[in-house]
Symmetry: C2
Subunit: 336 residues, 2 copies
DNA sequence: CTGAAAGCGCTAACAT
DNA sequence: ATGTTAGCGCTTTCAG
């Protein structure tokens, strides 16, 4: 079967003895058209495998049917399962709505890829895969008034600037998980956390502290160590806390949990006999760790899909949820 | 500063009292135009921050300035450093040439994303991140006559169907590395390999066998185990080989090397005292393994850039290299 | 219910 | 060297 490459709406109109308008209507379903001619056109299209040109449609409608997905540049060097997962979910969801995903690699101080996509109007909206407290990309998008969605909540300074702000229920999840963790034993419990510039870490801390308040645990009983970004800083923090008599460690994410596990093992402590450990974010690694680490589990696929879906709805002036929230699951694996 | 969103070439022409054509020429540099007017136009553009609409330019030129990057669907669940790395390199390179990258998640039997991109003409060419022996995506692209580039060599059945076929020098690298590995000791040496449907594995095997021939090692002295795709099959293979007296293990990639390392350790063998181990593909994991594993090292960034660059050159009718080859490096880390 | 015509913003012959 | 004109393939008033 030969492939007739570039059949146009004009060809069909001529062939069928109708006008371009009629063909267009038969395809889009917009405007009045008789069922008979619609079917005639559709049959022709089906038979001849006609596919409209996205470029032409786009130009006429001032749309591209593309979404720009901003990936953090360190994704090059570092596997970030969250990014990988949300990326695929977004891609799937976009496909489902006839949109495509254009990727751009950006850092806060190198937004070049994104700038160019906006300048050349190659996408209808942007999806950010993470949110920071001082986020120049966020400021940039807001200042341009360009529609965007975020995975993760916005900082107060950019409150409500996004069309869609999708997030896991971090506050509720961290609170519930912290309650379980804190309630499962006695003695000082510490929170190990990384970069507080990430909004997600702020939410985690807030959830943890809310649980502390609920249980009437005074602040000095729950030390918080932030800035844990490699094995060394983690070891130092853990050893310092051990010296203070802390034996209960809650980690803000899976990477820290892995490091803390190593640090505790290195200090000869067994989990859960000598010390307990848990994580406010999950991954395969924690499930397969020895011993497995209990964690608060979220579904990145659901988050990515939701953000993408609602953004596309918004673009099409359909009713949409500006702040989709994805629930959590508590995975008890015996590490506390 | 307010942002005048949609300045067009028409606005500029009117404002400057010249024709659209002149403006177009001043921008593209095509056609004759006086230096004076070119500068006048450029100054105006600079001042008013004009950016051409990619959609309009695209429609007029029948181009999209987009490249479709096909990612394997299992990238969702599994980190594939090679994919991550080449993806970023491609994205960077594309940016550099004013192209954008559109991603599509495909498997051999679910090419939907790609089909739609081609149908709607949303990309000018495709980049495949891997090549298989029986590759329906490859057949599909070839049958459509759509331009594409591959990372990795093509199978014989689709020889020369790609516009660009970028590859590491697998044959040369594997041969050289195998020579070093085989020459470093005596006794049976085994090759552990995964899916022979991957062209890259075929090249690795060919390189290995070429080294064997060169050294005059008979085939029965170099057992080859293929189909190693998880820890269990690796353990079985390793134990079977140990029983045959094999103490020298060459692995086709980093994942197998990791698994083999575990299997050897589990059998109480120390590296390199009791057994030696090496890998025909490298990654951070091998570098950080205990003990570090010697490996043949390639640069995925260079590969991705080359494929993307040559593909874009081809699209622009510039001279290009249809078969860029990236060199290798042998990283000796003491595991043999 | 259908068609004619203008237009989306740019490029590219073909004049001049 | 610059302008005129006609597209690229679709959508969308506005008439009939």
């Amino acid at each position: 079967m030969t492939f007739k490459a570039n059949l146009t709406i004009d060809d069909i109109a001529r062939e069928l003895g109708v006008s371009k308008t009629t063909v267009s209507r038969a395809i889009s379903g917009k405007g009045r058209i008789s069922a008979a001619t619609r079917e005639r056109v559709q049959a022709y299209i089906e038979l001849h495998n006609y596919r409209p040109s996205a470029a032409a449609k786009g130009l006429a409608e001032s749309r591209t049917y593309n979404l720009a997905l901003v990936l953090p540049k360190d994704f090059i060097n570092l596997d970030i399962p969250f990014v990988r997962n949300t990326m695929s979910a977004i891609c799937e969801e976009a496909f489902h709505h006839n949109y495509n995903i254009m990727i751009c690699l950006c850092t806060d101080d190198a937004p070049d890829h994104l700038v160019r996509i906006l300048d050349h109007r190659k996408a209808d909206a942007v999806i950010l895969t993470r949110t920071l407290e001082n986020d120049r990309l966020l400021d940039f998008l807001a200042s341009r008034g360009f529609p965007f969605a975020t995975l993760g909540s916005l900082p107060l300074c950019n409150q409500d600037k996004a069309i869609v702000e999708a997030d896991h229920d971090q506050l509720g999840g961290c609170r519930a998980f912290s309650l379980a963790f804190l309630g499962s034993g006695t003695g000082k419990a510490a929170l190990l956390i990384n970069d507080m510039n990430y909004i997600v870490n702020q939410s985690r801390l807030a959830g943890f502290q809310s649980a502390c308040r609920e249980l009437g645990i005074p602040l000095e009983q729950t030390p918080v160590c932030s800035g844990i970004n490699d094995q060394e800083s983690c070891c130092q923090a853990v050893e310092g806390l051990l010296a203070q008599g802390v034996r209960r460690f809650l980690c803000s994410d899976e990477d820290i949990a892995e490091r803390a596990l190593r640090a505790l093992k290195a200090n000869g402590l067994r989990i859960p006999q000598d010390a307990v450990l848990a994580s406010l974010a999950d991954s395969d690694k924690l499930q397969n760790a020895v011993p497995p680490i209990s964690a608060l589990h979220f579904d990145p696929l659901a988050l990515g899909s939701a953000a993408c879906r609602e953004m596309i709805r918004a673009l099409q002036d359909e009713p949409y949820d500006p702040k989709p929230r994805i629930g959590y699951e508590i995975c008890m694996r015996g590490s506390f």
